[in-house]
């Protein structure tokens, strides 16, 4: 992945040393005055439902991330598959996909390993805000993908930011 040096990478290193490094994402768009007024007339829950359903804990970093205690932003993203940490961030959630149990925090998927937790591939079909570090960009049939840990991440823009959906090819 052609991502330049990035604060979240530094945070990823930090957490391995058990240093907390809260890093609120900067990409956060509330509506202006104009659209706030229009919100009265439309269902403002539409996007909330989308995020909860699609992203498990919300890969978007916008206003309703407050609801689930996220907004650690780059805290855990950037961890390589196979990295072991003592404990995931406190706002972790447990999800079960196809009978496999995961612990999820900030779109990073963990499973228990010894006394700690190991970073694993996300299940296929979920949408995450970042690719693992070291993901390799590739083009298949004219569509760009990122490949890491034996699976593919298909990028797309959703709600104004890039998200990645996992799949196999």
């Amino acid at each position: 992945m052609n991502t330049p040096s990035h604060p979240s990478r530094l945070c990823a290193v930090a957490i391995l040393a058990a240093v907390t490094c809260a890093s609120p994402s900067a990409w956060a768009d509330r509506p202006g005055v104009r659209s706030s007024n229009r919100d009265r007339d439309i269902n403002v829950n539409v996007r909330r439902d989308v995020d909860v359903n699609v992203n498990v804990n919300g890969s978007r970093r916008h206003r309703h991330d407050r609801d689930n205690g996220s907004f650690w932003g780059g805290l855990a993203t950037g961890l390589v598959i196979g990295a072991i940490i003592s404990s995931p961030p406190p706002h972790q959630q447990t999800v079960v996909v196809k009978n496999v149990t995961y612990i999820v925090a900030d779109d990073v998927y963990y499973q228990p390993s010894g006394t700690g937790f190991v970073v694993v591939n996300p299940p296929l079909g979920v949408t995450v805000a970042t690719c693992p570090p070291g993901a390799v960009q590739t083009v298949v049939n004219g569509q760009v993908y990122f490949q890491a840990g034996g699976i593919y991440y298909r990028p797309a823009m959703q709600n104004g930011v890039t998200v990645y959906t996992t799949l196999s090819l």
């Binding site: 052609n2 991502t3 990035h6 604060p7 907390t20 809260a22 609120p24 994402s25 900067a26 990409w27 956060a28 768009d29 509330r30 509506p31 202006g32 005055v33 104009r34 659209s35 706030s36 007024n37 009265r40 539409v46 996007r47 989308v50 206003r63 991330d65 407050r66 205690g69 907004f71 650690w72 780059g74 598959i81 996909v97 196809k98 496999v100 499973q111 694993v120 591939n121 996300p122 299940p123 296929l124 079909g125 979920v126 760009v144 840990g149 034996g150 699976i151 298909r154 990028p155 797309a156 823009m157 959703q158 709600n159 104004g160 930011v161 998200v163 959906t165 996992t166 799949l167 196999s168």
Partner: protein, 261 residues
């Protein structure tokens, strides 16, 4: 009108002024001075064929139990009625927006990925379509619309004028407005060029009542903005990706058991 009825009208007016309850029920709590100054500023912006402005923006979020202020820098270039170019930068993100009256393109500069979609033919429709179809809130939308006064005025239930304040060395008039959803304040430059210098929006219905604060600088009105300002030209390494509709689950194969449990 005879003397007697004139007296009656005057007395009625005096009573109305001396009684807040009567005044409030007779007309909404709108301050004419605030409204007049808002209109003047909006007229200046609306009459400008083009404008460019830089905004430093702070927005509150709660993270890890802290109410934190996230900083962004926005450079806007607008040509009415249907050209827009925005650059939005922060410590983690860098996004470009191009709108040429036909196509909207978003560029994720960090990952060098961009998406394009057909767009409506004016700024208002663009803002609405981007929001409703793609979940994109344009930063500084209140300045971008072609009729900023009508847009701002629509929801106002109360207003107030708080006199003059100096914002980064510029004498300004401090206005406050209230809608059912947000409270907002604007500081408008005193004198011949009544430009917005500061904007604060308080999202009073949200827990912790977060605020959006913008300081405006480098205003340029009616400068020449060539057509290629608003036309996106991808760099050779940039990859095109899809812009998903707001309610669409990203395309993928059906979820399966992870091959790496």
């Amino acid at each position: 009108m005879n003397i007697k009825s004139l007296f009656a009208v005057s007395l009625g007016a005096a009573l109305a002024l001396s009684s807040p309850r009567v005044a409030a029920s007779a007309t909404p709590a709108l301050n004419p001075e605030a409204d007049r100054r808002l209109l003047t500023a909006c007229n200046l912006l609306a009459a400008a064929k083009t404008f460019t402005v830089r905004a430093e923006v702070w927005e509150d979020f709660v993270s890890a139990g802290h109410k934190v202020s996230v900083t962004r820098l926005i450079d806007a270039q607008v040509r009415r009625p249907n050209r827009l170019q925005l650059e939005v930068r922060s410590s983690q993100d860098s996004h470009g927006y191009w709108y040429d009256g036909k196509v909207l393109t978003l560029l994720d500069r960090v990952n060098n990925l961009y998406g394009s979609t057909a767009a409506p033919d004016n700024l208002e429709k663009l803002l609405d379509a981007a929001r409703e179809r793609f979940g994109i809130n344009f930063p500084l939308e209140d300045l971008l619309v072609n009729d900023p006064y009508a847009s701002a005025r629509a929801g106002i239930k109360e207003s107030a004028y708080f006199g003059q304040e100096v914002i980064l060395g510029v004498p300004c008039h401090h206005l406050a407005f209230s809608t059912p959803v947000v409270d907002w304040q604007i500081w408008i430059q005193d004198g011949e060029r009544p430009l917005p210098r500061k904007l604060v929006i308080t999202y009073k219905q949200e827990e912790t009542a977060p605020q959006f604060t913008a300081i405006f600088s480098d205003w340029k009105l009616n400068s020449d903005l060539p057509e290629n300002t608003f036309r996106f030209e991808p760099q050779p390494a940039a990859a095109k990706i899809e812009i998903l509709p707001v309610d669409e689950v990203p395309a993928s194969v059906p979820p399966q058991t992870s091959s790496h449990p």
